[in-house]
Amino acid sequence: MLSDELLQAAWLAGVDAMAIVDAGGVVQAVTPALERLVGREASALVGLRVDDLPLPGTVSREMREACATDGGRVHVLTLRPAAVRFDRTVFDSLDSGCVWLDMALRLVEANLAARRAFGLGERVILERIDQLGWRQFDRELQPMATEDRPAWRAAHGGEGRVSDIVAVEIPGRGLRWLRVNALAVPVLGPLADPGVFVSFTDFTDEREAAESLRDSEQLFRMFGEHAMDVLWIVDPRAQKLLYVNAAYERIWGRPAAALFDSLVHWLDGVDPGDYERVAAAAQSQTASGSYEVEYRMHRPDGVAKWIRGRGFPLYGPDGRMRYMAGFAEDVTLAHEAERLQDAHRVAQERLERIVATAPGAMHAYRQRADGTGEFTFATPAIRALLGVDARRLVDDRIDLLALVHPDDRGAVADSLRDSAELGAPWLASFRVPGAPAGERCIEAHSMPGRDADGGVTWQGFFIDVTERRRAEEEVKLLNRELEQRVAERTAELEARQREMESFTYSVSHDLKAPLRGIDGYSRLLESDHAERLDDEGRFFIRTIRKAANQMGQLIDDLLAYSRIERGRPTLSPLAAGPVVDAVVEGLASQLAAPGLRLRIEVERGLVVHGEREGLSLALRNLLENAIKFTAGQAQRAIELGARREGAQVRLWVRDNGPGFDMRYHDRIFEIFQRLHRAEDFPGTGVGLAMVRKAMERMHGRVWAQSEPGAGAAFFLELPAGPLV
């Protein structure tokens, strides 16, 4: 039997959590182990009914009846921790990392996943995690205080289970993101002490993947919004637009919202002519997978655009089509450029045809700022002109002046300088000795234009004027010869004229002087020696004097006739009336003869184109003739008339004299020709010849109408002058 003291000592030293319960079920005593287990002092527990003891759920109870020292019957309650058996195999097979910590948060045990996660060795290290140097951060990456840590909160906060996200900086592995569950456990692990069970999963990789996805999506959107072309993505199964960038609204000038409502709006604004083609291409995308189409599109603001649309499928990892994507590009400028290029090509072709058929050769000739020259363009025809192939002319930068005849270089350089200074066309001609067909004469027609570098470029053409020049030279030579001949001829004529003048002058002077002698001395003989002459002698003297006077008259008429020709006629409008009046006035005394009737019939206001002296002379002669030839008539009738006949003025003198036979019509106008005997009608035969000559000088004419015994009519005709 054990003494009470011994029992008391054993009771207090026992490791089991036990309580003695009396028959009435009231707790009489507890062991220190029980105090620890329930976390309360013995005094707070003794006196409680056994069922009211605050026991954790994880203990097993055992009640045994015992015999008390006083012989009474008591019950002994023994509490044992629930059997949490530690099975490493199961523990290590878990994917999640699991660790046990004691209440001081020292690591007691870690499974395989946790060891891997933390890079720990096989051996359990009972150290505080803090002491490992691992820093912990909250989800905002702020350093985490000890009391905020899930394990601590589970151990001390009485919260039971704690879930949180923690970032742990693990040496050699960087920052790891953990999803952590912490649970306070009364009896734990091999030591069967209370502690904290922590399980965690590392979602760092998952998090990074998500982040990277978010980044790339962000990048894609930024890229799309900045793209010049329209980018779009469609879900073909749902026929829904998933994405279109801002370029759509910019290029189409329409809100994109309509597209999100229905894909039909893709066809908004498409040119009616292209509508079917575009619709067919969009249809074909589902069949063949991709398409490309170009079409015209009209914006609501009236601007028309050319669009090139492309669509293509996007495949998922399973190789099946997930999305349709594409671009729509504004190719208006490209189209315009193409049109311009077409127009340019047409113009170019036209130019080439013109250049090919144009006479001469086109050129672009440039003078640099330093005065040296080069060809920058030449058509093939230039070879025939300059003797150098067009390509070589340009490639070798040949200076025109080097090809020009040395004697012409100075003039060509001067003409280029003048043209450049004045901005005036360059017109020059020069010889080129090196042409294939021998020396050529070239004419340049070019317009200068100032270059950006201070040089000048002439664009224009060269023509081969060799043949023309030759012809011109020939013409010039012929002209010179002709002029020479004309001059010679003129000089000859003038010499003859002078000769004629001096002849008539001599006739006048020299022939008349002896006549004066004949007449003078005959007269003196007659007057001073009449008594020595008989009648016959006096008759001889009278005859001599008559002959001398006739000869004097003849000489005077001859001189008058030749005088008509002298000098140039000065033709001008001339009133006919006053001329007629003056002539009639001059012959007034003869016209006043008895039995002579003069009728004047002159139209008023007649104007001729002629000269006064010529017309006076003609009229006077005709009137004198009429007076002379009517002298034998008892009734002398003379008519003087003038009237306009179309563009001519006709004047006439009609008489009732003896008339003449028209057979002799032409002869009477020749000099010294007479139809009548001198004793019937005196005269020298010069008068009508003078009339004809005077009329010819005035571009007029004279003619007569007569019949023997029926009088005669003489007509003058002159161009009419302007009406006065």
Partner: protein, 138 residues
């Protein structure tokens, strides 16, 4: 009062000189007739007048003269400082417009064409006498 100063006749044709002399005689012209046979001789008279010989009442000047022409004689006479007012009458066979115009341009006092008929020549002499030897001197 009749002026008895001489008449200077410039004439190369001796027959014309003789006829002129006779025509003047027929008209009873008493002025002595001095004769120069060519232009040079006529110009020689200028020196003689300068030396004090009496000036003629009139110079009768033929145009067609040997050596110095009548127009040249006329020009020199009319250009002379002292004798430019001396009356000069051209007496010639030429009725050329050029001669007439030239003579008047040089300041001739009258231009007379010699007639062929002697009676008319006597009339001319009478006119010369009346106008130049009588009327013009008073």
């Amino acid at each position: 009062m009749e002026d008895r100063r001489p008449i200077l006749l410039v004439e190369d044709n001796p027959m014309d000189v003789d006829l002129t002399r006779r025509a003047f005689a027929k008209r009873h012209i008493v002025n002595p007739l001095e004769v120069a046979r060519d232009g040079e001789e006529a110009l020689g008279w200028i020196a003689r007048w300068e030396a004090g010989e009496p000036l003629p009442v009139v110079v009768l000047l033929d145009l067609k003269l040997p050596r110095v022409s009548g127009l040249e004689v006329l020009r020199q006479l009319k250009a002379h400082a002292r004798f430019s007012r001396l009356p000069v009458v051209v007496l010639t066979t030429s009725r050329e417009d050029g001669d007439v115009a030239s003579a008047y341009a040089l300041g001739v006092n009258s231009y007379i064409v010699k007639p062929v008929e002697f009676e008319k020549f006597i009339d001319v002499a009478a006119q010369i006498d009346l106008y130049w030897c009588v009327l013009n001197q008073t």
